[in-house]
Symmetry: C2
Subunit: 196 residues, 2 copies
Amino acid sequence: MAGRKQFDVDAALDAAMTRFWRAGHAATSVDDLCRVTGLNRSSLYSTFGGKDALFLRCLDRYATRYGEKYDAALSCAASDPLAAVRAFFQVTLDRIADPALPDGCLIAQSALAIPVLTEDVAARAKDALGAQRKRLRAALKASRLADQHAEDFAEHAAAVNQSLAVMSRGGASPAQLRAIVGVTVEALSHALPTHT
Amino acid sequence: MAGRKQFDVDAALDAAMTRFWRAGHAATSVDDLCRVTGLNRSSLYSTFGGKDALFLRCLDRYATRYGEKYDAALSCAASDPLAAVRAFFQVTLDRIADPALPDGCLIAQSALAIPVLTEDVAARAKDALGAQRKRLRAALKASRLADQHAEDFAEHAAAVNQSLAVMSRGGASPAQLRAIVGVTVEALSHALPTHT
DNA sequence: CCTATCTTGAACTGATCGTTCCAAGATGTG
DNA sequence: CACATCTTGGAACGATCAGTTCAAGATAGG
């Protein structure tokens, strides 16, 4: 209980997460992490344990933070699945449009990097993507969609959500991103039995 | 005209392309490229000029090779847009299912890496993604779809195609990938005026 | 055969990689 | 104050990074 930390651990995690998010795991060096967090190597290693351990913390942080937002958006899926899916995509569109945050998506980037990640890091990235699919599957199964349609549509929606990361990095405008999800939302509206 | 090359340039390009495709630009070292191509540094540098120059060659090679397949698939868009879009996605699904090739997609991976790529390499990655969008836009505008719907759907289809790269790396099964494109194809079939 | 030209292998450059280590400073307890 | 514990700055580690250099080997034109 002596020698108190001279920095805010949460703020450091946010800075590290943002860096991984923007540059990816491979293109982020420990020096980069020290620079963006303001820590030196000793503090970074003693607090977080190394690059991969810190990356895992950041991945979990990212998955938890936005997972909660996605869950909140989908909470009305049973009563109004169309509004729920619309709100789901809006979480991503808002995040991409936020100038204080990177575009892209840490989970999408990590998923594509799986072949060059450590086994445990790769497993966690896969889990994060799986959580997203599970979230959508549960929400849509609670709607009046037939089970098979619900599962298919959940896979589709999860994929379209990841595609926004790629397209935003590729220079797609907010209007173009809206068009991408618009087709998906339209498809759901036609698939819902309430649609006459 | 003296001292003939001891290797096949096309084979070396294929090997390098496959490596970049699987591991991405940042996680691929020149040593890796030497190993997979069988070349030593001298031959690699004198023939291709360096890592970034070789990466550009591989990006162009990838974009051309699969661009032609996408164009062929979309060639019947005016007469049968539904079959054209189906064939378009089938190009990607077949490529992912091919055990001799990596899953994922070099263009998607490069697009996500744009923030850490050299300016000219980033521009080329963006161009490759733009070519894909242009391809789909032209094909769908030739169909009986209203112009605005054609543009929106083109953006959507390009995005869904990129999403397959992310989802395949994340462990999605071929059936799940088919479900993803199935929703999109179904949406197009409902949007076409021929649909009764 | 001779020589100019090209290719190839391997050693080498300085920079950067992730990680470890240690001494100096700061803090809480006795 | 004294001592044990923790944090911090910075140097240092061997490994690997992208890229260069050079001499030896191979080939074509004369």
